[in-house]
């Protein structure tokens, strides 16, 4: 029984974390462009980043 007092809150907490993470991902438009993400990996970073564009 005493194990349950720890384990159930832990399980619930972890579930809530997952739920919170999913909400965060939705709010941050993580699912907006699934195809684009796989392509962006291939874009080469420019060696020098122009200063005036770092807005």
């Amino acid at each position: 029984m005493s194990g349950l007092a720890v384990l159930i809150p832990v399980a619930l907490f972890m579930g809530l974390c997952g739920l919170g993470f999913f909400f965060w991902a939705m709010r941050n438009d993580q699912f907006e462009d699934l195809e684009g993400a796989s392509h962006r990996v291939l874009i080469d970073d420019e060696e020098v980043i122009p200063d005036d564009k770092t807005v």
């Binding site: 619930l12 579930g15 909400f23 462009d33 195809e35 392509h39 990996v41 874009i43 420019e46 807005v55």
Partner: protein, 709 residues
């Protein structure tokens, strides 16, 4: 607000504006970085973000940088872009997102409560069981309150109008079962149904989310294809300066400066200059029409050749385009009378279920088991009969079918379109742009030498005339590179002429005869005729045969003259009606509907808009006008006509699957209801029965994956 702000004045901390463009041409990682970096190099652009999945780019920029300038900038990067309206679909998308959040919460609740329930089922006793029931209640109540809202809201809406829908029995079931489970928990009873209730909500929400995602996905595809009317115009102020004004702020009496290549934002009369106008958005007819001083020009048309000044006579809601939109609205009213299959089923299902639960309660009361036991049994009946499988039966089948169609280049706007498409038993086809390509295609380019081709391309590219565009498109398709030409002059109604290596060359005045047009390519002294024709779409004939085999006889209904329509009708071997105005098209459809036919209208132009809205179901090609695509239920993106027959076929397969799913759901009820009535259903049996029936229904729907083959 400050008219003196110039483009170079980047220090102004004006609010940034967001614009979205459809860029269908991007295909690779290179395109993403090219567009994003290229746009960032443009002064006034704050950020540019490509969405590769929807082939769109969102740009945050200074208000002075107009959308037209951005479009040109994307054009200079080598991509064709189309301006998208202020995200008109964001509201709908918000809907699906809310459902998805509710689904996530229900999923979380379901899993945690299931964990607790499993230990109760496997024999937890006494205090442990009570504790677990209390914990379940603690999780379930907020989850039900949050995730159940879509059902409660819809049920309340239906009840307010004294109607019933699927959500009424669901809501009653959820509330009764929750209440009873709370009572059981408080009195240390043996059974609590929290797991069943939350699982029910989860499965039902899954069905709704699928339905919503299907709608969003198709609409996104369609909005990416939209060609937009001008979002605004350069208005000449009283002091002679011009100023960019949004379309909704334009009023009658203002003066518009319309550059060549611009779309008109309002109706008006030309007061200075003369030019050719492309009326294809309104008429579907691609031949440009010359307009000069005192002639009327309409919003939505494109100024092709020369700049003109236009005095606005009607703007905003008073334009001809808006009139047609109103006609469409009225014609489309009857559509709302179509009752979705699921709701039709609910009409019989809900009273039957409620009656059954009530009978169970009364019956067990008479049998003398006491109100508590009788209530428990009737709640078990409500839970077990709750239309879990029924709620998934329709959307699951429709989502899989619309996904299949999408892979074949057909976008279905919503599930109701599939239902109506399956019922159609008559096809009405528009001619220009629907059964034909809608734009001229050069027929005899092969007769030109390589040199002539490159000259023709160079000349064609310097003009906005539809025939020039058609020639340029075909030649670019043949990988011809344009010759170097100088001093290009375009004369409205005459053609383009230029100098090539000192020789004068020209593409001159196309002469129109019958249903084909021609243009003269002159190099020095030598002339060559290029003949163009508005060709039939590929597979038109095969499509009409297939539709006939499916039980949908076709006929043509065109606004064109008899002479233009007859050869096409003869070629296809179908009946035709010519000279039909938009009202006539609607009348024809209404007449057929009155005879009990379910008309499928296939059309593209603005003039088809009301007919598309009036028909039982409608399809438009991807090349259709803005209005045509908005009004149609289904849009196909290919040149070929075959998707029309394919979508009818798939829609029928879908409805067949939906009926099978209903059969399965009913079969499940036939087995489970006697168990529930006899009081033998425990929460464990309810959980197993619900998930099994849902899985079977989804599995059956997945068979539609290959339906398009």
């Amino acid at each position: 607000m400050n008219a003196t702000v110039t483009l170079d004045d980047l220090k102004t901390v004006d609010d940034l504006e967001d614009s979205r463009f459809a860029v269908p041409g991007m295909r690779c990682a290179g395109c993403i970085s090219k567009i994003e970096k290229g746009l960032l190099d443009l002064p006034g652009v704050d950020s540019a973000r490509v969405n590769f999945s929807t082939k769109q780019v969102a740009i945050s920029h200074d208000p002075e940088l107009t959308e037209d300038k951005l479009k040109t900038a994307i054009g200079q990067l080598g991509f064709e872009a189309q301006i998208l309206a202020d995200n008109p679909l964001s509201e709908d998308r918000g809907d699906t997102k809310r459902l998805l959040r509710a689904l996530a919460v229900a999923g979380f609740g379901m899993m945690n409560i299931m964990l607790l329930s499993v230990s109760v089922w496997s024999g937890a006793m006494g205090v442990t069981k009570d504790l677990f029931h209390w914990l379940s209640a603690l999780i379930a109540i907020p989850v039900i309150a949050y995730s159940g809202r879509p059902f409660f809201a819809s049920a309340a809406m239906a009840l307010r109008y004294l109607r019933t829908n699927m959500d009424v029995p669901i809501s009653i079931g959820i509330i009764l079962a929750t209440g009873l489970s709370l009572y059981e928990t408080a009195t240390s009873g043996p059974h609590a149904y929290f797991d069943g209730v939350v699982m029910l909500i989860f499965f039902l929400l899954a069905g709704r989310v699928l339905d919503g995602m299907m709608r969003d996905r198709a609409r996104e595809g369609i909005s990416a294809l939209l060609k937009q009317t001008a979002p605004g115009a350069m208005i000449i102020q009283s002091d002679g300066t011009t100023r960019w004004t949004k379309a909704e702020d334009i009023e009658a009496g203002m003066l518009m400066q319309v550059a060549a290549g611009d779309n008109l934002a309002a109706d008006g009369i030309i007061i200075e200059g003369r030019s050719g106008f492309d009326f294809s958005m309104l008429t579907g007819e691609s031949d440009p029409q010359n307009r000069t001083i005192d002639d009327e020009v309409l919003a939505g048309t494109t100024n092709l050749t020369a700049p003109v000044k236009v005095r606005v006579t009607a703007a905003g809601k008073d334009t001809s385009i808006s009139d047609i939109a109103r006609l469409m609205d009225e014609a489309g009213q009857h559509r709302s009378f179509h009752v979705r299959v699921a709701d039709r089923a609910a009409r019989y299902y809900a009273p039957a279920v409620h009656l059954l639960a009530l009978l169970a309660f009364v019956g067990w009361m008479l049998a003398g088991v006491g109100w508590h036991q009788a209530l428990l049994i009737s709640v078990a009946v409500l839970i077990i009969t709750c239309p879990c499988a029924l709620g998934l039966a329709v959307p699951a089948a429709q989502v899989v079918a619309s996904g299949t169609l999408m892979r074949n280049g057909v976008l279905v706007k919503d599930g109701s379109a599939l239902e109506r498409l399956a019922e159609a038993d008559r096809v009405i086809l528009d001619k220009t742009g629907t059964i034909t390509m809608g734009h001229p295609v050069p027929l005899n380019l092969q007769q030109l030498s390589v040199e002539e081709k490159s000259i023709a391309l160079a000349l064609a590219q310097s003009s906005n005339h539809p025939i020039s565009k058609a020639i340029a498109k075909s030649l670019v398709g043949e990988n011809v590179s344009p010759a170097k030409i100088e001093s290009v002059i375009e004369v409205v109604g005459k053609g383009v002429s230029a100098k090539w290596n000192g020789i004068s060359v020209s593409l001159s005045r196309p002469s129109k005869g019958g249903d084909s047009a021609a243009t003269q390519l002159t190099v020095g002294e030598v002339g060559q005729r290029i003949i163009l024709k508005d060709a039939l779409r590929p597979d038109s004939k095969a499509t009409i045969t297939k539709l006939f085999e499916l039980g949908l006889p076709a006929s043509l209904l065109s606004g064109d003259s008899m002479e233009a329509v007859t050869p096409i009708a003869l070629q296809l071997g179908i009946m035709a009606q010519a000279n039909a105005k938009p009202e006539d098209k609607v009348d024809t459809i209404k007449r057929l509907s009155a005879q009990g036919m379910k008309v499928l209208m296939v059309g593209d132009g603005l003039n088809d808009g009301p007919a598309l809205a009036a028909a039982h179901v409608s399809i438009a090609p991807g090349s259709a006008s803005d209005v045509g695509q908005q009004a149609a239920d289904v849009v196909f993106t290919s040149d070929s006509m075959l998707p029309v027959a394919l979508s009818v076929k798939v829609a029928r397969r879908t409805m067949q699957t939906v009926r099978q799913n209903f059969g399965l759901a009913i079969g499940y009820n036939v087995l489970a209801v006697p168990l529930a009535l006899s009081g033998m259903v425990t929460p464990l049996i309810a959980a197993i029965a619900m998930s099994t029936s849902s899985l079977i229904v989804v599995g059956n729907a997945l068979r539609l994956y290959g339906a398009a083959k």
